[in-house]
Subunit: 128 residues, 3 copies
C-alpha cells in the first residue's frame, strides 16, 4: 500500500471483510496488524469531517519537538510516539462468517510519517 | 446494555468470566469488543475514586470543540476521537479454563457519548 | 520480571519470539499480556533515544496530581490512567512459525509505577 501525505487515513474495511469471507472461518477473531512503528490501526466512522478531525488531533497531541532524542537519529520521534500510543493493531470478532463490525465502524491504517511507497498490513484470522 | 450518563464505566468482568467458563475453552484468548465508535473497552482497577479519575481525564483530553468538522454533522466528534484513541477492544488470555486477569484488573465498557438505550459488546473466545 | 525505575521499558521481543517457536504454531496470533493495571505493553523501535522520549512523553501526559481521587487510596492514579490509555496487551500475527514483527518493531513492557519486584507477562499463542 502506498501513502501520499504526512498523515493519512486509509480505509481497509472492504479488503479485511473479503479476507474473512475467503478464510472460511465462521466464528473466531480477525487481527489487522501494521508492520510499521510510525503507523497505527484504528477503528472509527468513515465520515469525511471526522477523518480530518482525527488527523488534526493526532498532529496536536504528538507535535514535532527539537528536544526529542530520537530526532537526532531520524526526525520522526513524534510519529513513533503516536504509533506507540495508538497501537499497531485492532482485533475484531468474526461471527457467522463475517467481520462483526458495528454499523458505523470502519478499519483504518493511520499513516503517521508519510508519504511512503510501501506500507504492509497483515490480516490474520483464527477460528473455525 | 443501557447507559445512563454522558461518560460512564460499566464493569463487564463477571459476565466475561462466565462466558469463558461456559465456552469450555481451557487455553486460548478472549476478545471483548464494543460495536460502537463512541465507546471503548478498557482494563483497570475497579476502585470508585479511580473510575471518577478516568472519566475526568477523558473529558479533559477530548473536550468538545466547535471547530471539529464532525460536529457539523453530529455533535460528538470528541466522543469519536476518544474512541479512536482508546480502542474498541481488549484481548485477555484464557488459562486453565479461566480468564487470566491480574488481581486488580477489571474489564470495563467506557461510554463516551451516553446515555444510550442499547450498547452491544461481543465476547469472542478462541482456543481449545 | 523485576523492574528498577519509576518508569521503564523492558524489551520482551526475544522471549516472545522464542515462545512462538516453541509453541509449534505455524499460522495464528500471539498475545503479549501484562497482568498489571500500572503497566502496559507497547510496540515500537528499540532505539535508545526513542525509549527515553517515550518515558518523557508518558510522564508529561499523565502527571501526578493531588486532586486525583485514587491518590487518597494509593498515590498512583497517574500510573493507572496511563495503563488504561496504553493498554495491557498487544496482539501480533504468527506466520511461517515466526512472530510477524516488522523490521523495526520490538515488544516492550512499560513499567508505569516501579520499581517492582515481580511483574508478570503472559504470552498466549493460538493457531495451527
Amino acid at each position: 500500500m502506498e501513502t501520499h501525505d504526512k498523515r493519512e487515513l486509509v480505509d481497509l474495511t472492504a479488503g479485511v471483510a473479503e479476507a474473512v469471507k475467503e478464510s472460511g472461518v465462521k466464528g473466531g477473531i480477525c487481527v489487522v496488524y501494521s508492520m510499521h512503528t510510525t503507523g497505527a490501526i484504528i477503528i472509527n466512522e468513515n465520515e469525511e469531517g471526522l477523518l480530518r478531525d482525527v488527523l488534526v488531533k493526532v498532529a496536536e497531541d504528538f507535535p514535532r519537538r527539537g528536544t526529542w532524542l530520537h530526532n537526532l537519529v531520524d526526525d520522526n520521534a513524534q510519529s513513533h510516539l503516536a504509533g506507540a500510543y495508538l497501537g499497531p493493531s485492532v482485533t475484531v470478532p468474526v461471527e457467522g462468517g463475517s467481520l462483526a463490525l458495528g454499523e458505523f465502524q470502519s478499519v483504518f491504517f493511520l499513516e503517521l510519517d508519510g508519504p511512503r511507497p510501501e506500507r504492509k498490513v497483515i490480516v490474520e484470522i483464527v477460528g473455525e
